[in-house]
Amino acid sequence: MTESIPHTTTPTLHAQGVSRRYGQHWAVHSLDLALYPGEIVGLLGPNGAGKSSILQMLSGNLAPTTGSVHIHGYSLIDQAQLAKTHLGYLPQTPPLYPELSALDYLRFVAKLHRIPRTHQAAAVSSVIERCGLANVQKRLIAHLSKGYQQRLGIAQAIIHDPQVIILDEPTVGLDPNQIVEIRALIMTLGKDRSVLLSSHILPDIEALCQRAYIMHLGRLVFSGQLPEKNSSSTANSLGQLFADLTQTSEDKATLQTTTEAHQ
C-alpha cells in the first residue's frame, strides 16, 4: 500500500472508522478517508464494494453504524446543518424534479443551500454559464436530454461553492465533447476545493486524480498516489492495479477461460 504525501493542512472531509451494517452484513467496514483542499481524489471499486453506501454516509443520507464524518471541521451528526453548508453532492441518479424548469430548479436549490438572497441570482447565472446550461434553462427538466440532466446535476452540487464536492459517476451519459468539458470543470473545481470522484471510468480517474482509494468488499484495499500514467510497460497501469486488487482468483480464472473461448 503506497503512503500518501503528508499534508500540513487539516482535511476538509474526514471520515474516521466509518462502518455500516445491514442486518448481519457489513457493507462498509471501518473505513478511514481524508480529503484536503486543492485535490481531486478518486474512489474506485467493483459493483457491490460499498461505494454508494460510503458516499451516502459522507453526504448525510445514511447514518453510519459506527464512526464519524467531519466536513470542514463540523460533525455531520452533531452539527449536520453547518457541515452540509460546505457540501455539494451529486448522487448516481441526479436528484432532479422533472416537473420544474432548469432555471426554477436551480433557484430552488440556491435557496435550499441558504445562499444569501442578494447573491442567489448571481449564483444561479454563474452556475448556468459554468455548466453550459444557458440554452436549456427555460425547458422542463423532463424534456432535457440525459447529458443536460447530468450537467444540471453537477450544477446543483456546485451552485453554493462548497468546500467539499462529492461526485458519483459525473460523466455517465455524456458524449465525448461533454466529457472533456466536464473534466475541465472538475479540474477547475479541484484547484481550491476538495473533490471526491467515484467512477467506473478509469480514464476519468487517471485524467483527473492525483490520489485514489480503491474499495473491495466493504474495505479499503488501496489508498495513495496513482501509478504514473505513461509508465510504458503496462498500457493501463491503473486498470491493472484495480484488477489485481479487486478480482478474486475465481474471477480471474473465469475471465481467462472466457477470453480463451473467444480466441
Binding site: 453526504s59 447514518a63 457540501l87 435550499l112
Partner: protein, 256 residues
C-alpha cells in the same frame, strides 16, 4: 426554509394536471350542490317565514356545502399528498433535501405547509360561494368563519395523516390508498369506539379516543360552536402525525 419547500411543493402541484383536476372537480361538485340547496331554500322560504325563529341561509345553504366539502377532502387530500414523499424516494430526489443544510423537520413542515396552502385555496372556493350571495341576503359571518376554521382543521388532520402515509411507501398510489384507508378507519371507528367506551363507563378513555376521530372534532365548529376540546384534539391529531412522519424519515436515514 419551510416556506421555500412549501412554495416548491405548491408549484409542483400546479404543474401537474392532478391539482387542476381536483380543483375543477371540487368546484363543480360543490357549486352544483350549493345551487341545489339555494333552490330548495327559495322554495321553502314561504314556509320558513311562518316559523318563530327560522334558520338562516348560512345554516341551510352554506352548512351542507361545507359538510360536502369535508367529505370531498377525504378523497382529495390523500390524492394531493400522495406524491410528496413517496415520489421523492422513488425518483431519489430526497437526496437533494437530505444533503442540503435542511433538517428533516423543516422538510416535513415545508411539505405540510405546501399542502395546506392548496387546501386553503379549496376552502376559499367553498366559502366564496355563500359570500357571492351576500348582496341579496344577510349572512351569519360568525358561523361562516367557524365553518371555514372547521374545514381547515379537518384538512390539516387529513394532510398530516396523508403525508405520513406518503412517507411509508415509494408508490404514490399506494400512499393515497393508505392515507384514504387510515382516515376512513378513523372516521368510522373513532366515533363508535368513543361511544362504546363512554357507555362502558370509561369517559376519560373515550375523551382520549376523540383525538382519532376527525369528524367528531369537526362537528362542533361546523355548527358554529367553539369547543376548545374538539379543537385541541384536532390539533393534537395533526401534530401527532407530523411527528410520526418526521420520525419515519429519520428512521429511513438510520436504516438505509
Amino acid at each position: 426554509m419551510i416556506l421555500t419547500i412549501a412554495r416548491k411543493e405548491l408549484r409542483t402541484l400546479f404543474n401537474s394536471p392532478l391539482a387542476w383536476f381536483i380543483l375543477s372537480a371540487v368546484t363543480l361538485c360543490l357549486g352544483f350542490s350549493f345551487l341545489q340547496r339555494l333552490d330548495d331554500y327559495l322554495q321553502m322560504q314561504a314556509k320558513l317565514l311562518q316559523l318563530a325563529n327560522p334558520p338562516g341561509v348560512t345554516e341551510l345553504v352554506a352548512a351542507p356545502t361545507v359538510a360536502l366539502a369535508a367529505a370531498v377532502f377525504l378523497f382529495a387530500v390523500p390524492l394531493l399528498a400522495m406524491r410528496m414523499l413517496a415520489e421523492e424516494r422513488r425518483q431519489q430526489t430526497l437526496t437533494l433535501l437530505l444533503s442540503a443544510p435542511v433538517s428533516i423537520t423543516e422538510i416535513v413542515l415545508g411539505k405540510f405547509c405546501g399542502l395546506m396552502m392548496m387546501l386553503l385555496f379549496i376552502v376559499a372556493i367553498v366559502i366564496s360561494m355563500p359570500i357571492m350571495i351576500m348582496g341579496t341576503t344577510p349572512l351569519d359571518w360568525g358561523l361562516l368563519a367557524s365553518m371555514a376554521t372547521a374545514l381547515i382543521l379537518l384538512g390539516a388532520g387529513f394532510a398530516a395523516i396523508s403525508l405520513y402515509a406518503s412517507s411509508l411507501t415509494r408508490q404514490p398510489i399506494v400512499a393515497a390508498l393508505l392515507g384514504f384507508g387510515m382516515i376512513l378507519i378513523m372516521l368510522l371507528a373513532g366515533e363508535t369506539l368513543g361511544d362504546n367506551l363512554d357507555q362502558y363507563g370509561w369517559p376519560y378513555l373515550a375523551a382520549l379516543v376523540q383525538v382519532f376521530s376527525p369528524l367528531l372534532n369537526f362537528e362542533p365548529l361546523g355548527k358554529g360552536l367553539i369547543d376548545s376540546y374538539a379543537i385541541s384534539c384536532g390539533l393534537l391529531l395533526m401534530t401527532l402525525f407530523l411527528i410520526l412522519t418526521i420520525r419515519e424519515l429519520d428512521r429511513q436515514r438510520l436504516r438505509g
